[in-house]
């Protein structure tokens, strides 16, 4: 079985898990008292947000190793991770306003957290644009690696500037220093969803990576 096929099956498994998450979230998880059913979107929004940031960090790590080892596979992985990260950032930026409308009464607010996710999204777009704008493969990999490493270092700054701002956005309740303050059944659903998103990320990246490798081989063949 080729990598692309394995990736496809992993993605199918991830989508099945995601469907199961919906079933569990809608039917078997208690409704949150103040927010009502709208809070259900939490199980999609937060895992996607965590993977958006993690994907950027993985891009950065792959970039560091690329600059040392000069292995083209690492560059292909960074490319794949960046594209999947862009897709996840899009999920976050779509589900966020949908959740915000009933709870905050507005689709969008220039709140620190929303703005920082938006800028992470722009960072991804910039990364992909830079890849598209350099013709020579070697230079493209190096430039992308430099930007990827800078991007990885930017994530904590974006993350911490959120804490310094007074914000409408709820503070993270799972990824925080103390123990998670979420009731058990909700935490279980959330963890389940997080696993689903992890499988999805892996599946997407496997497929995209196989494509990037094929692209690199073809490019090398033409030169």
């Amino acid at each position: 079985m080729t990598l692309a096929q394995k990736g496809r099956w992993t993605t199918v498994a991830g989508l099945a898990l995601l469907a199961a998450v919906y079933v569990r979230a809608l039917a078997f998880t208690p409704i949150e008292r103040t927010q009502g059913p709208a809070q259900k979107i939490y199980y999609i929004h937060v895992p996607a947000a965590i993977w958006t940031e993690t994907a950027m960090i993985l891009v950065g790590l792959a970039s560091i190793f690329f600059l040392f080892l000069k292995d083209a596979r690492l560059d292909s992985f960074a490319e794949a991770s960046a594209e999947v990260g862009t897709a996840f950032a899009t999920i976050v930026l779509t589900t966020g306003p949908i959740w915000g409308k009933p709870i905050w009464g507005t689709w969008w607010t220039w709140d620190a957290r929303l703005t920082s996710t938006l800028f992470l999204f722009f960072l991804y777009i910039g990364y992909l644009l830079l890849r598209g704008a350099v013709m020579e493969a070697g230079a493209r990999a190096r430039y992308a690696a430099v930007l990827g490493i800078c991007g990885m270092c930017l994530v904590p700054f974006i993350h911490f500037s959120v804490y310094l701002f007074r914000t409408l956005h709820p503070m993270p309740i799972i990824m925080k220093p103390s123990t998670p303050s979420l009731p058990g059944s909700m935490l279980a659903t959330w963890s389940f969803s997080f696993v689903a998103f992890t499988v999805l990320y892996v599946g997407f990246v496997m497929q995209r990576y196989a494509l990037a490798r094929a692209g690199a081989r073809q490019e090398a063949g033409h030169v």
Partner: protein, 217 residues
């Protein structure tokens, strides 16, 4: 040495610095017409005006830093010279910082004049904040400008890549400037100052380490 060469070239021709200064003055003027003076008090808007102007002016300066070297393959000349990559980067960084500092030194009095914001009592801390925020984003900008000159749409690519990186210093600078102009104690903004300082340390180091990868084959 690189810094001296760049600055010397700049003072001989004076085109870039003059256009950047005119640009700064124009942006400040545009802001004046872009707000409703009866509805929004200047003091509320002042930090944003100041920082957006500085950011745009710096972007102009950075675009020019390596574009200069493209003519007559001057960059290749610098690269084969015995100069180390680190000194080349620092030379460019210092030249850019001086360039941006000149723009800011002219921009700040203009800003005070146009918007009638009293800064006399907080002048020193304000200059400190400006310096702290400028160093960080000029460091990243210098690194990126070395990359983008060899891409297509270089002039457009630099802002697209750089703006996400401008957010932490910009937000921090606006917050601290706002507190200073309102005459509140600096201690209130300690968190932001730490953020600005760590941003400078991280990105100056990082850019210095990464710069060789942007110019070497």
């Amino acid at each position: 040495m690189v810094a001296r060469k760049d600055l010397l070239l700049e003072f001989r021709t004076r085109t870039a610095i003059l256009s950047a200064l005119v640009f700064t003055a124009l942006v400040l003027t545009v802001f004046e017409f872009g707000r409703d003076p009866t509805a929004v008090p200047t003091i509320d808007l002042a930090p944003s005006i100041l920082w957006v102007t500085f950011t745009f002016a710096a972007m102009l300066a950075l675009n020019r830093a390596f574009a200069l070297e493209l003519e007559n393959q001057a960059l290749e000349g610098l690269l084969v010279s015995p100069l180390s990559r680190t000194s080349l980067y620092w030379g460019k960084l210092i030249a850019n910082l001086v360039f941006v500092a000149i723009v800011e030194a002219v921009g700040l009095p203009l800003f005070v004049l146009f918007f009638d914001v009293p800064v006399g009592h907080v002048l020193l801390p304000l200059v400190g904040v400006i310096a702290l925020a400028t160093v960080g984003f000029v460091a990243v900008g210098t690194l990126f400008s070395a990359m983008v000159i060899r891409t297509r749409f270089a002039e457009l690519m630099l802002p697209v890549l750089l703006l996400p990186f401008l957010i932490p210093p910009l937000v921090g600078a606006v917050q601290v400037t706002g507190r200073l102009l309102e005459g509140r104690p600096v201690v209130e903004a300690a968190g932001w100052l730490k953020l600005l300082a760590s941003y400078d340390i991280v990105f100056v180091t990082l850019s210095t380490l990464l710069f060789p990868h942007t110019v070497d084959e």
